[in-house]
Symmetry: C2
Subunit: 393 residues, 2 copies
DNA sequence: CTTTTTTCATTGACAGTGGAAAAGAACCAC
DNA sequence: GTGGTTCTTTTCCACTGTCAATGAAAAAAG
């Protein structure tokens, strides 16, 4: 009579359960008492939230005695059983799709990528769906169902409706990605902006854990920035935020396609650096990697370009920090391969442009393997899976 | 036996009551049904929240039939009875204390200011307390008790502890203002940063009502910025945020005391404008008002200075908007007296520096009479009075 | 001039959430 | 053992806000 439920129930049914689950998820194995202290819930509430989550296997008792107190009853550690559920994360770029299969703790189990031949939705979607199928097959090998699919796309993305409003890079407008992917795969879909997705991953599983205010700066083909303020990811009133790529750093700098001069992006993005190194040295370099090699080899002109790029990034970070006063800035991105060349310049430019207390802000760097973007997408899927009661901090 | 309560109970005891009260407070007279729709509470919950608030007189039925629907039972409007409680707001500047007595709707009933002879806490506090006494006497004339005192100070202020951590302007460090004022007056005290206080006033009673993301930019002796993101005022991880005064606009501009060149504040603050007009015209002007007069008179060199100031402000606003994507920016401050001189420049500079969707952001200007700062302080007191369940939006 | 329709407001029953207090459990130290 | 300490669970309960039904007040319809 009663039809079988189409999807596994979400782990957290009440705000308290959600809070407990996300706390354990982010802060690793914890005792119930610890969870109670962290969440400011009563111990009783924690016990009651943990039990049903254990019964369905999302939480498990961690038998590594480990952190037992010197005195008193030994504590039982509780942790999330990552293997209990799988998620697929996809990042769609202009020329490829990067895909990962992760567990509930957002650890990557499988990573793939396929090139794209066209950018129109009609060219991308079949490849995307084929990739999902491929990973679903992989997932069978783990004997666990896939509980969600996250898709990250650059540009203006409406996560609530799952619509890509406008992606300049892909030249997409108003593509109802969640609907399409949902009907095709039957999975719960989360669509979000790529930088925001990466920010969610850092907030829950990375260098942003436990911070109520931080920024994530990505350096690569473009310069992006994700923000967490008061424990919540910032989306802006119109769905767009963190556009630091077009902060104007040098009014006399090169002309940017946005119409201004000296934007961060036209000084410090990978293509900009390549262009500048080419111009400075007169060599016909083809890729950013070649420019990097030249600079690493000690070419002073090339190094100068990297120094300028670092200074621009540092000043952009300084602006963000002055405005928001975050606790930490995480610097990441493909461009980080050149980090050794401009780390110093980023820090000095930041230090001089940060005003007052803002200078206390911690700068952390973090390598960004190519699968990381897709992992961010998986993180958003995990977030959706856990439920609507996302706690603010 | 049972001692009389020392202070009136706060209006809102439950989250729902708080939500209802703040909704009615900000959105003027509303029908219960409207409140229910706005807050997404059930109609029953609204009725139950309103009743006790009416019994103690904070809410009243508004008998101005006014907005009756074309069909169906006519609605009863509910509004806050502003006269039911009074609040004192104080702003401490370097050379005077500005004070207001407001009602619960943050309407100014009495405004005062006294000059200060010294900046040390020992010189300021007696004057401050005398001012409070004076307004308490005034308040007796209204036959209503004063329910809270808000104090606004520039610099790094910890609202939770009521401590002025560091105010460069006053040269205060770690002054426990809330404790001192609390024991001296017996009133509940709220101490906050001045710009944040102004932001709260706008969020609850001004041009920020109903917006989840907006910025408030103040132009005057300094350039400040208050931010509301996701419906909450931004304080930053270290208690400081919105420091746009030292965003560097022109790397070749005048040297700022912060060590950088071409900060907004060294181009567009009142003293900076005065200095520049003096330098450009060679005239021995004494005040910003004289410089303003000169520019209004048509002096091209003076006008040029204002145009540069406007452009700097516009670009600073552009930076904030690119980073946060607010729905609106409210431009205010004493410097707004000169608004006609640089309005155009602000807008053009903003338009060129705002990227993509960010340009949709609405720029609003709002005059800032001198009592406004003190009114901001009163708004924080009202916020504290209503209770800890401040809703996020 | 009823009756119906529509919307607003209230009531009382109720489900569900999380807290308080007390008891139980497991260990160490003496 | 006994007492002390901390973690965990249990039981009971206060409380909040929703549901569904009911009442109220007006306009529109018959």
């Amino acid at each position: 009579m009663c039809p079988a439920p189409l999807r596994e129930t979400v782990p957290a049914t009440t705000p308290a359960a959600s809070l407990v689950f996300t706390t354990v998820l982010s802060h690793g194995p914890l005792t119930r008492a610890d969870v109670a202290r962290r969440t400011r819930l009563s111990p009783a509430a924690v016990t009651k939230a943990v039990r049903p989550l254990m019964e369905v296997g999302y939480l498990v008792e961690d038998l590594d005695a480990g952190a037992r107190p010197a005195i008193g009853r030994p504590a039982n550690l509780v942790r999330v059983d990552g293997g209990r559920a799988l998620f697929i994360g996809l990042k769609v770029t202009g020329d490829e799709i990067i895909a990962v299969l992760t567990d509930l703790c957002c650890r990557i189990r499988v990573a793939r990528h396929v090139p794209l031949t066209g950018r129109e939705p009609s060219a991308v979607l079949p490849v995307l769906l084929a990739m999902v199928q491929e990973l679903l097959v992989e997932a069978e090998g783990f004997g666990v169902r896939v509980s969600g699919l996250g898709i990250a796309v650059s540009g203006d993305v409406d996560r609530v409706d799952g619509v890509v409003r406008y992606s300049p890079f892909l030249d997409w407008r108003d593509v109802p990605l969640a609907d399409v992917a949902g009907t095709a795969t039957g999975l719960p879909i989360t669509v979000d902006n790529d930088v925001r997705a990466l920010t969610v991953a850092e907030q829950w599983f990375g260098a942003g854990v436990g911070l109520s205010d931080f920024a994530l700066v990505t350096v690569g083909a473009g310069i992006g920035c994700g923000l967490v303020v008061n424990g919540r990811v910032v989306s802006g009133a119109h769905g767009v935020a963190g556009e630091i790529g077009h902060l104007s750093i040098d009014p006399l700098g090169p002309l940017c396609h946005c119409g201004n001069q000296g934007c961060v992006e036209v000084i410090a993005s990978d293509p900009a650096i390549l262009r500048e190194v080419r111009a400075a040295t007169g060599r016909p370099l083809a890729t950013a990697a070649e420019a990097l090699e030249l600079a690493r080899g000690g070419d002073p002109l090339a190094r100068e370009v990297y120094a300028r790029a670092g200074a621009a990034i540092g000043r952009a970070i300084g602006s963000v920090v002055n405005v928001l006063g975050p606790e930490r800035v995480i610097i990441s991105g493909e461009g980080l391969a050149a980090y050794d060349l401009f780390a110093e310049d980023i820090r000095t430019a930041f230090a001089t442009s940060a005003f007052g207390t803002a200078a206390q802000c911690d700068l952390t760097t973090r390598p960004l393997p190519f699968e990381e973007w897709a992992r961010g997408a998986a993180a958003t899927a995990i977030q959706s899976f856990i439920g609507p009661h996302t706690p603010q901090d």
